[in-house]
């Protein structure tokens, strides 16, 4: 922890800071005054000591992109939104987390299980593919069959930003 806590201010990434400023999800990050209500309220923190939304907010606010992206902690927020309800500054930590995750994903550092989802959706149009067995079971239960190929989701998954 002590080693991790030391930050090198020469690593401040101004381009990263400028990009953060343009994102609506991070528009109130500058208001964070480090009270720590987010970390104190966090159900992930309760079982995983390495996770601290407060620390992530601080590192991001300072423009320390390398530190933000070099650990897996931005991926540990479970999006329960308790901190969003309690934050006295309306920083909306989960929304900041999504902005940071999207940036990291663009740089190719998202967890494989998440980054492969768009491929799955462009193949099936669904997170879980529908096979004959699925619709057979649905029929047995009196449930209507569901479409196996959702073209519009496939096309959206494949579109270029």
């Amino acid at each position: 922890m002590a080693q991790d806590s030391v930050v090198d201010l020469s690593e401040v990434d101004t381009r990263f800071l400028r990009r953060l400023e343009t994102e609506l999800g991070a528009s109130d990050l500058s208001k964070c005054f480090q009270c720590g209500v987010c970390t104190a309220s966090c159900p992930v923190r309760e079982v995983e000591a390495s996770f601290s939304p407060r620390r992530i907010m601080k590192l991001a606010k300072m423009g320390l992109k390398k530190q933000v992206f070099s650990s897996d902690t931005i991926w540990l927020c479970s999006m329960c939104f308790i901190c969003l309800e309690r934050c006295p500054q309306d920083v909306r930590p989960p929304e900041v987390m999504t902005v940071l995750r999207n940036m990291a994903a663009k740089e190719g550092v998202a967890p494989a299980n998440l980054s492969k989802l768009l491929n799955v959706l462009s193949r099936n149009g669904r997170v879980y593919s529908i096979d004959d067995f699925t619709n057979e079971e649905r029929g047995d239960r009196g449930l209507p069959a569901v479409e196996s190929d959702l073209e519009f989701i496939k096309r959206i998954s494949e579109a270029k930003a």
Binding site: P43, L76, C80, V99, I156, A159
Partner: protein, 290 residues
Amino acid sequence: MRYSLFLGCTIPTRQMNYEQSAREVARVLGIEFVDGGYGCCGFPVEPVDEVKALSMAAANLKIASESDDALVTLCSACGEMLSKAEKRLGEDAEATKGVCKILTQAGLAYAGEKPRVIHFARMLHDDYGLDNIRARVVKPLKGLRIATHPGCHYVRPSTLYLGFDDPEFPGTLDRLVEATGAEALDYQGKTDCCGGGILAVREDIAKAMTGKKLAKLSGKADAMVVICPFCGIMYDKYQKTLEEELGIQLGLPVLYYPQLLGLALGIDPSKLGFDVNSVGVQALLGKVGV
């Protein structure tokens, strides 16, 4: 009462007990569900590409807007994603531009359509009404002690659900449970997250979150009641694994709310999908007397 039903990805393939019981309960209550051609709400891709997630939500909203029926979601994450897209695409010009670019490539368009989106439990609570539910109960579930788990996206972020439940002390699911005649327990940590949101990233942490609540409630409640497929998967499907890993007996049945309500409405348990539940419900059904 008629609604368009939004199933999402997980429920129609992995948690058919939720869908089966919801449809059966709706039928008995006289609520009509119309099936639409909906696809993924976008929620699963939000961490890697929020604009694409919003695009998927927008495409679904467009389909929903073709009828006057409100959109009912069984999954809390679908409900949140669709509601968020309606709000975001009205106030974030940059995101809207990105969404339009993606939808154009897919041969689709979104012009700010905002069909009413409502969670199944909220629909029962707000639209159908507790008094009407009580009036239909033929088998009051007296003596059953239920620990409700409202989950996260059903009530939070509260800015998406103005005028609805308290984001810190949600009470609507408790009241729905009490309408069946069962007792809704008060317990610490009711709003704690199931962990499902990070299952794909760190299964160990997700399971630790799940186990914490189960261990707290085991022996104190007859069953846990959930209204989101991710909560259902975590507390029900992972319970056996947790028992093995933690070396403890949990044995806490996890029911979807319409499964519980179905029993109170006198619906035959065979129509409520209990065979999909991982944790045995026989003792519970015995207690109810069916």
